[in-house]
């Protein structure tokens, strides 16, 4: 099934695409059909700079288990950073 559901978040940072590095201003997070990954549904993240056009995008499609592990890893590394850095 198509879930249609999308979470959008404003972000600040950079990503690297086929043309090199570019700034990131937005991210879309959704659990829906992937384009490439061999799973029926994946946790997909589009890192975007809408002002630079549709191709200014870094995309990932992760299995649900992978996404859970990644989310834990992100939180763990942020929690372990020295005080005052983030």
């Amino acid at each position: 099934m198509c879930t249609y559901l999308t979470e959008k978040v404003s972000i600040s940072g950079s990503g690297k695409g086929p043309s090199g590095w570019f700034r990131l201003t937005d991210a879309s997070v959704y659990f829906d059909h992937p384009v490439h990954a061999q799973a029926e549904h994946t946790l997909n993240i589009d890192f975007l700079d809408p002002g630079a056009g549709p191709s200014a995008r870094v995309a990932v499609e992760l299995t649900a288990e992978s996404a859970q592990a990644l989310a834990k890893a992100i939180q763990a590394i942020l929690d372990s950073a020295p005080p005052g850095l983030c």
Partner: protein, 262 residues
């Protein structure tokens, strides 16, 4: 059978008279031949659905697939266009706009010199829902719903489709025979939802033909996905060819043709 065809990107007049991109695959037979509007799934106007569109032309029909995300990202790669549509809140595409784009595709097909005037519609996944939507909104000659979700049932609060009345409530408006192809392991549409749709069609005296396959779930016709179920998919393709052959009045449909369908 003479099997030459021409496939290319074209511009058609869609909703509100706006020009949008579409992928056209046309048999080069003199005709008259039937035609099909192909509605892509939520991931977009992609390689697999273009292949599917070409399959109809290889089988002796004219086919066209409107790019439902053209307005959000003209000229973009299909996956980038989908991402742009999602980021801009254009997914789901409003029903009114989908109907307008399909109406434009129908007009394009009926205007082809070898058209017999008959036009069907087919869609898969979310496109299955949109095929049903088109068939209850426009005068068509045949419709095929390949496991379209949200034809029956109400989306929960917070869901982008929440508040949109179930399409099944408009079953009485169905303008043409309907072929439904479903997997019994699917959850959207579930077997219970398929049964509810069938009951509604029956109550309104509509012509329909449903096939539900054991051991198949959603997207069982897509050959490059883990969901592919060859036995069900091969049978489904035979049903599609027979159905379009019956209602689009084409005697030259290639029954051997099949391809990926998500």
């Amino acid at each position: 059978m003479y099997d030459a065809m021409l496939a290319e990107s074209v511009t058609i007049t869609g909703h509100n008279g706006d020009e949008i991109e579409a992928y056209s695959a046309r048999t080069l037979q003199a005709g008259p031949v039937g035609s099909v509007v192909v509605i892509h799934h939520l991931p977009g106007y992609d390689r697999q659905t273009k292949e599917f569109t070409r399959t109809f032309a290889a089988g002796g029909l004219n086919a066209v697939m409107p790019n439902l995300y053209h307005r959000e990202a003209p000229g973009a790669a299909p996956d980038d266009a989908m991402a742009t549509a999602r980021a801009s809140g254009a997914i789901p595409v409003p029903d009114e706009r989908i109907v307008g784009e399909v109406a434009g595709a129908v007009a394009y097909l009926r205007g082809l010199s070898n058209s017999n005037g008959k036009v069907g519609v087919i869609g898969h996944c979310s496109g299955g829902r949109q095929a049903f939507l088109a068939a209850i909104s426009l005068p068509l000659d045949a419709a095929v719903d390949c496991y379209g979700g949200f034809v029956v049932g109400t989306a929960p609060e917070g869901h982008p489709l929440h508040g949109i009345p179930p399409l099944v409530d408009r079953a009485g408006d169905l303008s043409c025979p309907l072929l439904g192809l479903f997997g019994r392991d699917d959850v959207a549409p579930s077997p219970e939802q398929v049964a509810e749709l069938e009951q509604a069609l029956k109550a309104h005296g509509k012509t329909y033909e449903f096939h539900s396959y054991d051991g198949a779930g959603h997207a069982f016709m897509q050959v490059d996905r883990p969901s592919y179920r060859p036995e069900a998919a091969v049978d489904a393709w035979q049903r599609i060819w027979a159905f379009f052959g019956r209602y689009l009045l084409s005697s030259v449909i290639g029954k051997e043709s099949q391809c990926a369908l998500t």
